[in-house]
């Protein structure tokens, strides 16, 4: 064989090897092939952000892979609420974890979605710079604080605190930012404070530049922020799929709340395989203390949502007095109330 042919063969073999490795290691074939399956067999796509408010989504996906029924849906990670909202509106994803006020606002604007379940309770905090000038909430006057969206419970939480401290709404400047950007912005002095879901408060704490000013529950008992919404056409067409999804989320919530080892396991696999965050960070957020964020009970309650709706109207981001029954579908959460936690331990490699 000539040298040239040899070299060519080597190059071709190299290319084949690299392509094969790439498609084996990097391509998520389940997601790629999903679009080409017949509609009734197609898996739904559930959108989530890398925050602990939505931890049940990756936990359900991970554990259900080890169960006899196999994976239940395709999770897709986003980096901010606007992108997620667009994917949901244009039917690129069929279900999503979004903040409760955004679900109400989208519903009021005519997007066909229904709230079927909650994502968590608690787990949001106001964080300021450790050595900064803000010692109490009263020092927040004239400062800039980052919020995830104008339609977020975190913003409403600020309004609750402002009422307690007698601060006018226009005395604090709010900026909408993508959650993954905030702790960097705080460290770089671009903002004075932020209010976000975990693990970003923990990130600022661990990094040594942030201090939790207060946790959400101090001003809002039974605080909830992220909730699971599903498109109406999916509910009409395949209620069984929605039920499986809600059941899975409910079981993951119970599993997370059973013991500290479960939380540590979750921190490990979610951090490595889903959020691309350090497991140590998630471990901090999930276990210091254990009730920093909780995952049960998560059935939607009218009182919670009426509170959110009234506060949205009061703060000028909603102009319609929506009724609870218009934007929620509680039959799935009713049925899932008999569910038990997953029976899954990390070492066994099987789940029930």
């Amino acid at each position: 064989m000539q040298l040239r042919t040899k070299a060519m063969l080597l190059v071709v073999a190299w290319l084949v090897l690299i392509s094969a490795l790439h498609s084996y290691l990097n391509v998520n074939w389940a997601a790629v092939l999903n679009d080409y399956r017949p509609i009734e067999k197609r898996k739904i796509i559930v959108a989530y952000l890398p925050v602990t408010c939505q931890l049940t989504c990756p936990v359900t996906d991970y554990i259900s892979r080890y169960s006899t029924s196999g994976e239940e849906f395709l999770p897709r990670m986003f980096q901010g609420f606007p992108e997620m909202k667009e994917a949901l509106i244009s039917n690129r994803v069929q279900a999503a974890f979004i903040v409760a006020p955004m679900a109400l606002a989208l519903k009021a604007q005519g997007v066909p979605i229904k709230v079927v379940y909650l994502g968590h309770r608690y787990g949001s905090a106001v964080v300021v710079r450790k050595d900064g000038p803000i010692k109490t909430f009263a020092d927040m006057r004239g400062k800039t604080i980052a919020i995830p969206s104008r339609f977020s419970d975190e913003r409403l939480l600020l309004f609750r605190a402002m009422k307690v401290w007698g601060i006018n709404p226009n005395e604090i400047k709010m900026r909408e930012m993508a959650p993954p950007d905030v702790s960097g912005a705080l460290a770089a002095h671009a903002i004075d404070a932020f209010v976000m879901g975990e693990p970003f408060p923990s990130q600022a704490e661990m990094g040594g530049f942030g201090r939790v000013l207060f946790q959400a529950r101090e001003y809002w008992p039974d605080y909830m922020s992220c909730i699971l919404v599903v498109r109406q056409d999916l509910i009409d067409r395949r209620p069984d799929i929605v039920q499986v999804l809600v059941d899975g989320i409910a079981r993951s919530g119970l599993w997370l709340d059973t013991s500290k080892p479960h939380r540590e396991q979750a921190a490990d696999f979610v951090g490595r395989f889903y959020y691309n965050q350090k497991p140590a960070l998630l471990r901090w957020a999930l276990t210091k203390p254990l009730d920093r964020v909780t995952y049960s009970p998560l059935a939607p309650r009218k009182a919670d949502f009426d509170l959110v709706r009234d506060m949205m109207i009061e703060t000028g981001v909603l102009n319609k007095k929506l009724e609870f029954s218009e934007y929620t579908d509680t039959r799935f959460s009713d049925k899932s109330s008999i569910e038990t936690p997953w029976r899954y331990e990390a070492a066994t490699g099987s789940a029930q």
């Binding site: 606007p82 909202k85 509106i89 244009s90 955004m102 606002a105 989208l106 604007q109 005519g110 997007v111 800039t144 969206s149 104008r150 339609f151 900026r175 909408e176 770089a188 002095h189 671009a190 903002i191």
Partner: protein, 260 residues
């Protein structure tokens, strides 16, 4: 060869308007026929523009964007043109500096956003800095090219008339290079307008770029998003037309050696 007929006066504005109207019609009926509930029709966009104007945000945002472009672009002109003239005048210096310029030039101003925020914080200076960066390099490169393409015979003639170096630069080289510099300025203005919108999406909380993001964040209000986009386009067009007017001035016109 067939010669192009020069268009009549009414044709000059009629056909562009007709083309725009046709596009609007296509857009309108595309929205109607596909029955989309997400993408807005031209009518709802028009309503969106009025809503934005009514809330008094539109004009403030337009003014903010224009102010940032004026300052950033103005600084780029004031620094870039003399620098370009110098570099063109001293080719030895240009040889030293040019590689650096060519490394910095292709870096998109958007890539500078994180650095700009670290340097200037969130606010006007960051956005102005981005505009400056975006327009500075095209201006310098155009000025260098303009100076070095001035025919040697012009300079020699100037020398023969006993002009000093500075006079030569001011009276001969600069006017002769002006057409090329102007083309650079016009390109830079277009880039400045592109960059200010992108910069406002991240670094500040006013201006047309912010208006797009703000509209996007307010739920399913894509009529407002498209309205803001249209305003950006229309103002870009106005800037370009205004600049072409300058190019047509008599004092500038003579330099177009190849023009009839």
């Amino acid at each position: 060869m067939s010669e192009l007929k020069s268009p009549r006066v009414w044709e000059k504005s009629f056909w562009p308007i007709a083309a725009a109207a046709l596009l609007l019609c296509v857009w309108h009926f595309a929205v109607e026929w596909t029955g989309t509930k997400v993408f807005p029709s031209p009518l709802s966009v028009e309503k969106g523009i009025f809503e934005l104007a009514h809330k008094h945000v539109l004009w403030a945002d337009v003014a903010d964007s224009l102010r940032r472009v004026a300052i950033g672009y103005g600084a780029a002109v004031v620094i870039g043109v003399p620098l370009g003239l110098c570099l063109g005048w001293f080719p030895a210096v240009n040889q030293v500096v040019n590689p650096l310029l060519q490394i910095l030039r292709p870096i998109s101003p958007i890539a500078w956003i994180p650095v700009a925020i670290i340097f200037f914080g969130i606010g006007d200076p960051a956005a102005i800095f981005l505009v400056f960066l975006g327009s500075f390099f095209p201006i310098v490169v155009a000025a260098v090219g303009g100076v070095s393409s001035v025919p040697l015979i012009f300079r020699r003639a100037g020398c023969n008339f006993g002009l000093s170096n500075f006079q030569l630069l001011r009276k001969i080289v600069f006017p002769a290079a002006l057409p090329q510099i102007l083309i650079g300025l016009r390109i830079a203005l277009g880039i400045a307008w592109l960059v200010v919108v992108a910069g406002e999406m991240i670094a500040v909380d006013s201006g047309l770029g912010y208006l797009v993001i703000d509209s996007r964040n307010s739920g399913k209000r894509y009529d407002l998003v498209v309205a803001a986009m249209l305003m950006i386009g229309v103002i870009g067009l106005i800037l370009d037309v205004a600049f072409r007017r300058i190019e047509k001035l008599k004092t500038v016109r003579w330099g177009f050696r190849n023009a009839t």
